[in-house]
Amino acid sequence: MCKQKISGIIEKYRGKPGAVIHALTEIQHANHWLPRAVMQEVADALGVPFSQVMQIASFYKTFSLTPKGRHEVHVCTGMTCHLRGGARLMEKVAEITGLTPGETDTDAKFSLEAGSCLGSCSIGPELIVDGKHYGRMTPERAADVLKQYE
């Protein structure tokens, strides 16, 4: 199922070297990570060296070279959230999930990421799970929020 989607994306951008980032973004969105073989296909189809695809894939945080978890957990580490205790929230979430930012757990349940200013500064500190915002978050409440996710 996903293989078809990926092939479709690659075909859409075949022969367009300027579209590497677009292609990788769509594949990441569909597949949740970028397998090496797929990156090689992208390189061949779009006509760019593999090292360039690799550089782009490793450059950006949104691309993952290892499979991501079912739930993406972002803790905002922007300046306002930081002032209001964002670091302590991150510590707590790291403790609960057993992850450091950038990691995914072995059950592929959670992926943890440090977000830098997600734009809801007035209700910081913020925890965002699968795009859902939990504002005015405290370390104490974090466990209850994460418990809801399978």
């Binding site: 580490t77 200013c117 939990y134």
Partner: protein, 552 residues
């Protein structure tokens, strides 16, 4: 809707839309901005919509979900027309009372604003202290429109500036008007937009591009996103006018990938504008062809830097180029490209409609117009604020912001995120403007104003900001990549009590060389926060170093 062939047809459409609307009719505007959304305003909106249906009042009351109303920490915000009654912290359970009273022209007393100190009520927007001291030229329309309906934007006068520019002014005249207005870039540079436009216009290449930088990576700045999500047409109109003035055929909007509603609103705006012929070939019969593509970043701060952003649009990694290869002359695919911030473009329609003379009557001597400020931190009232340039910081912090919560004393004000600086609170009477604030060491940047209370550890803030930039450096040049990293190490040591006597000397060398030697603005300004901390709060550093060397 049929394609508009002339400006006259646009006016006819506008009249038709207005004829079908009754300004005296009650209306409900629910804020769907980032913060209110995080406080579940969607549930409030759903409850209100359901209640309207229940009461069979669909024909008697207008309902819309809008972008950011501005008073973010008091959300979910609901604005009730026609008298601009402001309700705060609205819950889904309040729906029935809100609708019933709106239909009767009454007010739900418990939902209105109350001053935390005096308990004084303020029912209408113009009375609420947060709004009273603002001049909401750019943001005032956001609660009045549904951003996914172009007809709403047209109803409030949208695209009249574009029609005026295309039908009554030459491209040169438009450019001269913007120059005369002294519109300065609002992304952080403060560079006169008109001059940039002119450089691009005069570049010999025929193919030219105009770009909206909606990346907004600056920490604690959220007003560009509010603008793009709440009134994308305003920004788009400015961009099309700019394209006309400069002679560009293609525009790009470059923004963050992490806001689905913003993506949705901009996409809808582009589609609807195209449908009406406000984008595409022969816009309003003027002979001007122009279209816009939407691009998303992939999650790195440096891609907000103009030359890096252009690399990203090309599909390359966002590595910045040195500034002496000016992007106005050689930008995307080496073609002349004019990049401006969201807020800068949003100012253009009003400048064309009301004229440069009107615009220059607002603001201070060298900084004209209004400025969007994202007010946050240790402040009672936080959100998106719009004030004339030259407004004293005291007004923003106390009159609008309501001061510091929990009875604490304010200590410092920080501008510009990781590339800005902090000033101590005793400089609070300084006016908000580009040049004065830069001289004080706290350039306003994109306008994120962070208030810090007496408990704030300035050494730790300096370290935190460096840590942010270290993670965002592209890594190409040595002074930024290695210099910042070493600064971070030294600050971390100081904080951990391992500071040494020569640390301040090493920091001084590092800040100097990183500022002079870095390739792009990220590296060049990376040490500015630290420099401002050392300028105004040096004793905190010295104390930590002294304390550390006592224990080692």
């Amino acid at each position: 809707m049929p394609r508009l062939q002339t400006s006259a047809e646009l006016e006819a459409l506008r009249a038709k839309i207005l004829a079908g609307r009754d300004p005296a009719r009650p209306s409900i505007a629910v804020c769907g901005g980032a913060a209110c959304d995080g406080l579940d305003s969607a549930a409030v909106a759903a409850a209100l919509a359901a209640e309207i249906k229940n009461q069979g009042a669909g024909a008697k009351i207008d309902f819309r979900v809008t972008g950011c109303h501005g008073f973010c920490n008091k959300g979910p915000n609901v604005l009730v027309g026609p008298d601009d009654v402001c309700y705060f912290e609205v819950k889904p359970e309040d729906a029935s009372e809100v609708i019933t009273s709106a239909l009767k022209g009454e007010v739900v007393d418990r939902l209105v604003y109350r001053d935390p100190a005096s308990g004084e009520k303020a029912v209408h927007m113009s009375e609420v202290p947060f709004y009273k001291h603002q001049m909401r030229i750019l943001t005032g329309d956001i609660p009045r429109i549904d951003p996914t309906r172009i007809t709403d934007y047209i109803a409030i006068g949208g695209y009249s500036a574009l029609a005026k520019a295309l039908s009554q002014m030459s491209s040169d005249q438009v450019l001269q008007e913007v120059k005369k207005a002294n519109l300065r870039g609002r992304g952080g540079g403060g560079f006169p937009a008109g001059l940039k436009w002119e450089t691009t216009k005069n570049a010999p290449e025929k193919t030219k591009y105009v770009i909206v930088n909606g990346h907004e990576g600056e920490s604690a700045a959220f007003m560009d996103r509010a603008m793009l999500t709440g009134n994308p047409h305003r920004v788009l109109e400015g961009l099309i006018i700019g394209g006309y003035a400069i002679g560009a055929q293609q525009g790009y909007i470059y923004t963050r990938h992490d806001s689905p509603s913003m993506a949705k609103h901009i996409t809808a705006a582009l589609e609807q504008a195209r449908e009406l012929g406000l984008l595409g070939k022969n816009i309003l019969g003027s002979g001007f062809d122009f279209d816009v593509e939407l691009h998303f970043d992939v999650g790195i701060f440096v891609s907000g830097e103009s030359s890096a952003l252009m690399r990203s649009i090309e599909g390359n990694p966002p590595e910045p180029r040195p500034k002496y290869i000016r992007t106005s002359v050689s930008g995307i695919w080496d073609k002349p490209s004019n990049l401006n911030n969201v807020e800068t473009w949003a100012n253009v329609p009003e400048i064309i409609n009301r004229g440069a003379d009107w615009y220059t009557s607002i603001g201070s001597e060298k900084s004209k117009g209004t400025k969007l400020v994202s007010l946050s931190g240790h402040v009672v009232n936080s959100g998106v604020v719009e004030v004339p340039m030259g407004t004293p910081l005291r007004t923003i912090v106390f009159d609008i912001g309501g001061g510091v919560p929990e009875g604490k004393a304010p200590k410092a004000i920080h501008f510009g995120g990781a590339m800005g600086g902090s000033i101590p609170i005793d400089l609070i009477d300084a006016p908000l403007d580009f040049d004065g604030m830069a001289k004080l060491g706290a350039p306003i940047g994109a306008g994120g104003l962070l208030l810090m209370n007496e408990d704030t550890d300035m050494v730790e803030i300096a370290r935190y900001l460096l840590d942010f930039l270290v993670k965002e450096s592209c890594g190409k040049c040595v002074p930024c990549r290695e210099g910042m990293y070493q600064m971070l190490k030294i600050l971390t040591n100081i904080i951990e009590g391992k500071g040494r006597k020569f640390d301040l000397e090493r920091l001084a060398d590092l800040t100097e060389v990183t500022s002079l030697g870095s390739l792009c603005a990220l590296g060049k300004t990376s040490s500015d926060p630290l420099k401002s901390m050392l300028r105004y709060f040096k004793s905190e550093f010295e104390e930590r170093i002294a304390a550390g060397s006592q224990t080692t």
